[in-house]
């Protein structure tokens, strides 16, 4: 068989067999919340593919050029090369608009998947020892994703992106002491500078994606080394992983997820218009779009800029302008807290143990409260970024809306956090599985209850059966209340199987037994049947005849002259 020859060839050169067997048998926990990180990776893949196509047509230059193409309102007008090439690749390059819009949608999905993945890790305590380093890598990837999203939509040199760049420039300017130097070094001069576009471009298409790829690899290597964490359940222990294997179940499921992400991205890219720069028009320093909203993942910063009162501080004759506090200050504090969270929580709980079993959010009401506070706070900021649209829709003056939101951002997070705290404690205290099933007693317990975790019950009625298969391989199975779990690998000898079982379930007694009913073995290798042999013989004869004829024809012209 051709595949067996491939295995042999690879093994002879790289010794891949043992690693390959382990990889195929790798177990992933079966829970839907483990998919978000994968969605992020696949969105990143979509970004790389569509983005590479876009680089072939985009020209990151602010040099004047005359747009000459299918978009009538701009035909013949003098605009920057960046803007003209964006319009050209949208209207004059076939499939260009699809790829460009798919790229933008993939970016929105990418950041969303990262954020939801981060929330899953946060609320289930997956960042605890030994996974703090991976938390740090993950938060770094979030910052890079935000940065690259911003540089990406700043590049077309349209009016909206120019306005966004100007706000970022002003934000960097607001940094005390070094702000003006950093801003000018980054932008290449006073805004708008011709140096900016090439810098955005190289950062967007090379520097940040390269770092990102390295960090994704690091993230995955650490996951493979540490193996997955898992939710509590029958047979789930600190020293094992329960779920489905990479091959076949997760290979197929993961491919389904990849193609699902691509389906979503391309459908959205084809049907739902996004960032129509030709409507905004080219950038001009004296113009701005109205209303002006950034992409969702930077909108919290924009909302903070709108919400923060006009406070400027003078220090020894120097100015700390208003944008410093809501933009630089809030961003720095947010990401420092994110980075430090595993250590902050360890300091609070004094829990230094290594954890492979995840917590349900309700197990840690305090953490739920912190998360609920942060989510509500950023949700209010996100809404604030649309205060002009709210004012237009409701007819309430924008100052009134702003005042309301200023109060809400101070009050609402506390209210939501307190509610979430009580709900989590009530869920923990009672037997309800969802919020809808909470009883009055549960709520009472939640309001007055203690902060103690319920004792984990031990089941004595568990055992491991070890058996020899008819083909001389070994396998074991854990039997306990609630589930039967089969070893992910087949083992070549008894000692190997026994060692694996004892690692996965320390202290559980192992008994040897015959193979269970209906054990699935690989089918025996096919001996070719008579029909196949006959067909092969015919093919051989046919080849031989044809080959001889070809020989004769080739030799005949050379004989002719004689």
């Amino acid at each position: 068989m051709i595949t067996r020859r491939l295995y042999r060839a690879l093994d002879a050169r790289l010794g891949t067999t043992s690693a390959g067997r382990t990889a195929l048998a790798k177990v992933f926990p079966d829970h839907w919340t483990f998919m978000f990180g994968e969605v992020a990776i696949y969105a990143f893949l979509a970004l790389l593919l569509t983005g590479t196509y876009l680089t072939l047509f985009f020209d990151p230059s602010t040099a004047d050029t005359v747009y000459d193409g299918a978009y009538q309102p701009l035909d013949g007008s003098t605009v920057s090369s960046a803007f003209a090439s964006t319009v050209t690749l949208s209207f004059d390059v076939r499939a260009g608009l699809l790829i460009r819009q798919a790229h933008h949608w993939a970016a929105l999905l990418f950041v969303a998947a990262i954020v939801v993945h981060l929330l899953r890790v946060f609320f289930t305590g997956a960042f605890r020892r030994p996974r703090e380093l991976n938390w740090v890598v993950g938060v770094t990837m979030l910052t890079l994703a935000l940065l690259n999203g911003f540089t990406g939509y700043s590049m077309p040199d349209d009016l909206l992106s120019g306005t966004g760049l100007r706000i970022i420039y002003s934000t960097v300017l607001s940094i005390p002491v070094v702000g003006s130097w950093i801003a000018m070094l980054a932008f290449g001069g006073e805004f708008p500078s011709d140096e900016t576009a090439p810098r955005l471009y190289i950062s967007h298409v090379l520097i940040v994606p390269a770092i990102f790829l390295a960090l994704i690899s690091l993230h995955l290597v650490m996951i493979i080394r540490q193996k997955h964490s898992q939710f509590p359940g029958p047979g789930r222990r600190e020293h094992n992983v329960v779920g489905s294997r990479l091959w076949p179940a997760y290979a197929v499921r993961s491919l389904s997820l990849l193609t699902g992400v691509l389906a979503a991205v391309f459908t959205l890219g084809g049907l739902v218009q996004i960032n129509p720069v030709w409507i905004y028009g080219p950038f001009h320093p004296a113009q701005a779009t109205s209303p002006a909203q950034p992409d969702w993942y930077v909108a919290w910063g924009d909302g903070a800029l709108r919400l923060f009162p006009p406070i400027e501080v003078h220090i020894a004759g120097h100015l700390v302008p208003a944008p410093f506090f809501p933009a630089v200050g809030l961003g720095t504090v947010t990401f420092l807290l994110l980075y430090a969270w595993p250590w902050l929580e360890r300091w609070r709980t004094a829990d230094k143990a290594s954890h492979q079993i995840l917590e349900r959010p309700r197990d840690r009401p305090g953490r739920v409260a912190v998360g609920a506070y942060a989510l509500t706070f950023f949700a209010v900021l996100l809404v604030t970024a649309a205060d002009d649209i709210l004012a237009r829709l409701t007819g309430i003056p924008v100052t009134g809306i702003l005042r309301t939101l200023q109060i809400l951002v101070l009050v609402l997070p506390f209210a939501v956090a307190a509610t979430a705290f009580v709900v989590a404690r009530s869920l923990r205290a009672g037997t309800a599985t969802t919020v809808g099933e909470l009883t009055r007693e549960d709520l009472h317990a939640g309001l007055t209850g203690s902060d103690e975790l319920p004792e984990e019950s031990r089941h004595p009625a568990e055992r491991i059966r070890l058996w020899r298969n008819p083909d001389d391989t070994w396998r074991w199975c854990w039997h306990g209340p609630g589930d039967d779990l089969t070893s992910n690998e087949v083992f070549l000898d008894r000692a190997e199987a026994l060692a694996a079982a004892r690692t996965a379930f320390p202290g559980v007694s192992v008994e040897q037994d015959g193979p269970p009913e209906g054990v699935v073995l690989p089918p025996p290798r096919h001996e070719p049947g008579p029909a196949t042999k006959a067909a092969a013989g015919l093919v051989w004869v046919a080849m031989a005849v044809l080959g001889r004829r070809a020989d004769r024809r080739r030799s005949s012209p050379s004989e002719a002259p004689e």
Binding site: R166, I167, V178, R245, A249, T267, G270, L305
Partner: protein, 281 residues
């Protein structure tokens, strides 16, 4: 199992839909590439794969019920000691402290030296950032022109609208945009700091919060609104901020009318335009 047969049929159908979608994409592309049809066909093609693979994984493959052992990551202390000994033992180069110190110093000095070319990110032909931020191209005698380049006369300024102006020859500078507006002297509650020509005044167009052009003029209240963060400036009170996150008034532009009736600047803005910075005067 009839359920399995049904699943196989559905999966085969889904992969067939993928083929149709792919063909549809290729045909659409060849016929002029309608974006919507391209998106639908490619989306359908990938969705067919996604559905088929999901059904395959769910219905035809064993899922759940497997357990993998997770060996302890921590090595026994004796092994860690061996690692430390191998790293720092007698043969280790780290033993020569003096040399290691000089090596670090050397490498560090290269690192510091290589920071210098970062300065090239900012052209040496330009003045330093603070000077650039403090001064604009407006100067005594510079004519006010529209963004299209037409010189502006006092009589061009109509009541009820603003006229955006830039200094002649500096159309694309980021810090120069200004606007002219005709105010009602009766309602003026604070005399413009930069003075006025008749009832026409000139201010910087850039919001003092984050530098967006405050291009929305509300004539009834004589206010300028910023579309970015909703700051408002009262032109009757020398463009003082009255709402939103802006904390400083719009800088005024001193102007005069020359002998031909064209408007010229009498100097730079009364303070640096746009967002604030550390060395703001």
């Amino acid at each position: 199992m009839s359920g399995e047969k049904g699943a196989v049929r559905r999966i085969r159908l889904a992969f067939g839909v993928t083929v149709l979608g792919a063909v549809g994409f290729a045909v659409t592309y060849s016929l002029g590439a309608n974006t919507q049809l391209l998106g639908i066909s490619l989306g359908v093609a990938f969705a067919g794969l996604a559905y088929g693979l999901a059904a395959w994984g769910r219905r035809l493959l064993p899922t759940g019920g497997y357990v993998e052992q997770k060996p302890e990551l921590v090595a026994p202390p004796r092994r860690r000691d061996l690692l430390a000994e191998a790293m720092e033992g007698p043969e280790s180069p780290l033993g020569r402290r003096g040399l290691v110190g000089m090596l670090l110093l050397g490498a560090g000095s290269i690192g510091v030296a290589l920071l210098f070319p970062l300065r090239s990110l900012l052209s040496f032909r330009k003045p330093d950032p603070v000077t650039m931020l403090r001064h604009t191209a407006w100067d005594a005698g510079v004519r006010l022109v529209t963004p299209e380049g037409t010189p502006v006369r006092l009589t061009d300024i109509a009541r009820g609208t603003i006229q955006i102006v830039v200094p002649e020859g500096h159309r694309r500078d980021g810090d120069v945009p200004a606007f002219l507006v005709r105010l009602d002297p009766e309602r003026l509650r604070k005399e413009p700091g930069a003075g006025r020509v008749g009832d026409v005044v000139a201010y910087s167009l850039l919001c003092t919060h984050a530098g967006c052009p405050v291009a929305l003029y509300e004539q009834t209240t004589a206010r300028m609104l910023c579309p970015c963060h909703q700051s408002a400036f009262d032109l009757n009170r020398d463009a003082a901020p009255i709402a939103g996150p802006a904390a400083r008034p719009l800088p005024g532009l001193p102007i005069e009318a020359d002998a031909d009736g064209f408007l010229r600047a009498r100097g730079d803005f009364t303070s640096p335009p746009g967002a604030g910075f550390w060395s703001y005067p």
